[in-house]
């Protein structure tokens, strides 16, 4: 890091000011994020069972354990990426549709807006517990309704793909409104003139949306996708509360896998090794997305 103050007087003063502004934040990040990451990295190279912390160096053995764990390769990673993809894409589509619908004056708008803010106030873990209750196979309202109309209920949370769908659905419920709010803010800051011109030309609504709204909104959309994708990758609360990774660890996502290995199966080193692998994947993805973002920012 370039923390050394320069010899040049004027520069030095500015640099000192810059450093002073970030010192408190940097200190907290160092003690609460950097040091744990360093310690976690070190732990991932050791033999560290929570009931017997020998802490002997074992090289890459833990990484090998994780990467040859069939559950990690065939269940956890596919689940994580499928979850990320479906959650982000569907939330984006719903969020965008709602943002466009909200971007006009109508009666009851305040009310709709408040309803859409609800998922942002509810703790993800409560939302997930609530969904678990709603989709309960015996007493859940969804099955009661399905039975009543004669379709017949499903044992939602005890089959892999239905349980996975409920997890995705919960995440969409939680985050689609977040997309709506950000995109609505974006829509409202768009210039008025192109829309007026299109109106005078008699363009259809769909073409206006496709060729005006969407391209002008692109930078905001991309920022939203980047933020959400990174957050979706590390989803924990929802899965923990809904299925606990079950049935038979079939719906585990990456964060829950690392947590379970460390604190349920007490293999702290394997858990941290899994967590490190996830961190590397998302860092690479994050840097790529950052590049894309840079291009978009320059382009607009």
């Amino acid at each position: 890091m370039t923390r050394k103050p320069s010899r040049r007087r004027w520069f030095g003063e500015q640099q000192r000011f810059a450093l002073m502004l970030i010192v408190p934040a940097a200190a907290i990040l160092t003690f609460f994020q950097l040091i744990p990451i360093i310690m976690g990295t070190s732990a991932s190279f050791r033999d560290w069972m929570l009931y017997n912390p020998k802490k002997t160096w074992v090289g890459l053995a833990q990484y090998e354990k994780v990467l040859t764990d069939p559950a990690f390769l065939t269940v956890v990673m596919p689940n994580t990426f499928l979850f990320m993809f479906f959650s982000v894409v569907i939330s984006l589509v719903i969020g965008l549709a709602l943002a466009v619908a909200m971007n006009r004056v109508f009666r009851g708008q305040k009310f709709v807006q408040t309803v859409l803010l609800l998922p942002l106030m509810v703790a993800p873990v409560i939302a997930a517990i609530m969904m678990r209750w709603i989709f309960n196979d015996q007493f859940g309202i969804v099955n009661v309704v399905l039975d009543a109309v004669g379709i017949g209920g499903l044992p939602w949370l005890v089959q892999r793909w239905t349980a996975f769908s409920v997890i995705v659905l919960t995440d969409i419920w939680l985050w689609a409104p977040w997309f709506t709010l950000l995109l609505l803010a974006g829509l409202q800051s768009l210039p008025r003139e192109p829309f007026e011109a299109a109106q005078i030309d008699g363009t259809t609504r769909w073409r206006v949306f496709r060729y005006l709204t969407l391209p002008m909104l692109r930078p905001v959309i991309i920022v939203c996708i980047v933020i959400r994708a990174i957050d979706a990758f590390r989803t924990f609360d929802t899965v923990w509360a809904l299925t606990g990774g079950g049935p038979a660890r079939q719906t585990e996502l990456f964060s829950l896998y690392a947590y379970e290995e460390a604190f349920v199966f007490l293999d702290f080193a394997k858990g941290t090794a899994a967590a490190m692998i996830g961190a590397v994947i998302i860092l690479v993805a994050g840097l790529l997305l950052y590049r894309v973002l840079g291009h978009v920012r320059e382009g607009s």
Partner: protein, 277 residues
């Protein structure tokens, strides 16, 4: 003004015809409100009727009395409020200056700092919260307020610095330059000129920060023990370790929702204004 906006956007919003719009909006509202309504309904049903929430007409406030009589629940509410409030205060304190620096100062320090917080924001929580458990035990911070709220501040720093930078980017630095020319120090320009104009952003981030800490679960699960139970964890325990007490879980959840709802209601306009990226 509203009229003009109405005519332009009404004509250009796909599906702006009246009836389908109203029906669509009603369904949307219903779907988004349903889990919360169901939670509230569950919380006022007596334990005997809990498995048939949808039928029967017995309603009771007994669940609320029961959870409020439980010292662990009230302690959890108190703890969550303290942690959320203190975390918000410190988050804002450190991210205002950090965001200001990212916006106003160029050069290697700013670039390094921006790269650092971007990378640290990408790192999944689980990667650092697992070892943080041991680190906090070494610092003697495990299961204390300090250990919890500083971890929350660490979560906020990266994202909020980024948002703050965005806000300051939107504020013309000409006023600060004028202040500097008039003999103000850099700190004076920051504290007396830039800071007051950032108050809307600060309000928005305060609301978001408080909601995040109030609702946070993973850190609470790992970093808190007997002394500092937090609401989310206590609530989740109603439907796992202590058996399936859906009514008590729902009552606790509804109580937890009240401050979040009030805060959002009052902070709504700041958040909406502040969410522009």
């Amino acid at each position: 003004m509203n009229k003009v906006q109405h005519s332009i956007f009404a004509a250009f919003t796909p599906g702006a015809r009246r009836l389908p719009f109203i029906v669509g909006m009603s369904i949307t509202c219903f779907l988004f409100a349903f889990p919360v309504l169901w939670l509230i309904l569950t919380s006022v049903r007596p334990e005997s009727d809990i498995y048939y929430v949808y039928k029967g007409t017995n309603f009771t406030l007994d669940n609320f009395r029961q959870v409020l009589d439980n010292p662990r629940v009230t302690l959890a509410f108190f703890n969550s409020a303290v942690v959320a409030t203190v975390a918000t205060f410190f988050s804002i304190l450190v991210t205002v200056s950090s965001g200001y620096m990212l916006s106003r100062l160029k050069g290697p320090i700013a670039r390094t700092w921006f790269g650092t917080i971007y990378a640290l924001r990408c790192v999944p929580f689980v990667t650092w919260v697992l070892p943080l458990y041991f680190v906090e035990q070494q610092y003697g911070l495990y299961d204390t307020y300090t250990g919890l709220f500083l971890a929350h501040v660490a979560v906020h720093i990266c994202f909020f610095s980024w948002l703050m930078k965005g806000f300051f980017d939107g504020i013309d630095p000409a006023m600060e330059h004028a202040a500097l020319i008039d003999g103000c120090t850099r700190w004076g320009a920051f504290l007396r000129v830039a800071l007051p104009s950032a108050i809307p952003a600060i309000s928005a981030l305060s609301v978001l920060s408080w909601l995040f800490s109030w609702n946070e679960f993973l850190f609470a699960l790992i970093l808190s023990g007997q002394h500092t139970p937090l609401t989310t964890v206590v609530m989740a325990q109603f439907v796992s370790e202590m058996g399936m007490q859906w009514n008590l879980m729902a009552a606790t959840a509804v109580l937890a929702l009240v401050p979040a709802f009030l805060l959002t209601l009052f902070g709504q306009k700041y958040v909406l204004r502040g969410l522009k990226i």
